[in-house]
Subunit: 199 residues, 2 copies
């Protein structure tokens, strides 16, 4: 659904008010019946002879994804990766607002990065409660990920996006997504090999 | 295939020499017929009554993905994101070796990060040729991504992994993968919403 969302947003940026399943499929490398099936799964929102109204489709997909409203986010770990994520333009564009940042390093605590003050991780539960934060981005070293995630989960946050190159398995009601950046490199290598095979 | 690879590697790490399609499916949230179909696509390498031999499966998937041999990689852009990627443990674990790093900032050029010297981007074609580099990781600001990518493509690199939050469309034989970190946050938000609905 994220891929559909990106593509339809691009259509709007290019000034196209509508798109049909055939064109959407071509752009995404899918058959038009696949597109109709995917989007039809969430209700009937195509128009005969018109296709989809782009803005309506974007609103509906955002609603489905849960990103129709802003999500307040906390960043935990303000090393290189954390600081890069603080400045990542895509997050705020899609409704994710980093409201607080945390570290344990006294050298970092109190510094401001892109307008966000880095707080001591010991203040995490208090600040998360006050700011109504629901999601946390975890960007700490691998050996600290498990214990830090457990502390985050204990303070009412419902989702953790884990960038540490270690797989987290937390019990309880918190949802964890593990980001594996190597998969992106693998897919690129695979695409390069396929591409060579065709020449 | 990357997800299969990770899961089977985990089985090996836990000391399991074999795995069957049912268990692999359970771990990945797929039906066993889906697993057999996915893996069967690339040839017959299951054994009746045993399932798959984990090491054989890993070797075969790596061969398919093109990661059965090391890929020399260059990093372009050594800001926070670039430096975080230089230290990303997952890359070398899966056979990607960052052999050279580049920036345009005189303050960064000549510095060493995790044993890699940051070179001037003007030396890119020469160093890439010498080191036999095939893939480049692009971690420059969005407004420099397009021109930098065109220069990279002009020097014989066959694949670019683009972390800049802008979509690259390069002509010619170079393969580009655009990484969109926001998709990961969207999927987490979606999972959290689904999880709440179930309670």
């Amino acid at each position: 659904m994220s891929l559909y969302l990106r593509q339809v947003e691009r259509e709007i940026a290019e000034g196209n008010p509508t798109i049909n399943s055939r064109r959407l499929g071509q752009l995404l490398g899918l058959s038009d019946s696949q597109v109709r099936r995917d989007l039809g799964w969430f209700g009937q929102f195509g128009y005969r002879g018109i296709g989809y109204r782009c803005q309506e489709l974007v609103d509906r997909i955002r609603e489905i994804l849960g990103t129709g409203r802003p999500w307040p986010v906390a960043l935990v770990g303000c090393g290189h990766l954390g600081q890069a994520l603080l400045g990542y333009a895509g997050f705020s564009r899609q409704g994710f607002a980093v409201r607080a940042a945390f570290d344990r390093d006294p050298q970092l605590i109190g510094q401001h990065i892109r307008g966000i003050r880095i707080s001591d991780f010991s203040e995490f539960p208090e600040i998360v409660g006050r700011e109504g934060i629901e999601l946390a981005i975890l960007a700490v070293p691998a050996d600290q990920a498990e214990t830090t995630a457990a502390q985050i989960a204990g303070s009412g946050v419902t989702g953790i996006l884990n960038f540490a190159p270690t797989l987290l398995n937390l019990p309880g009601p918190v949802t964890v997504s593990n980001v594996d950046l190597t998969i992106e490199l693998e897919q690129l290598a695979f695409a390069v090999v396929q591409h060579r095979g065709k020449r």
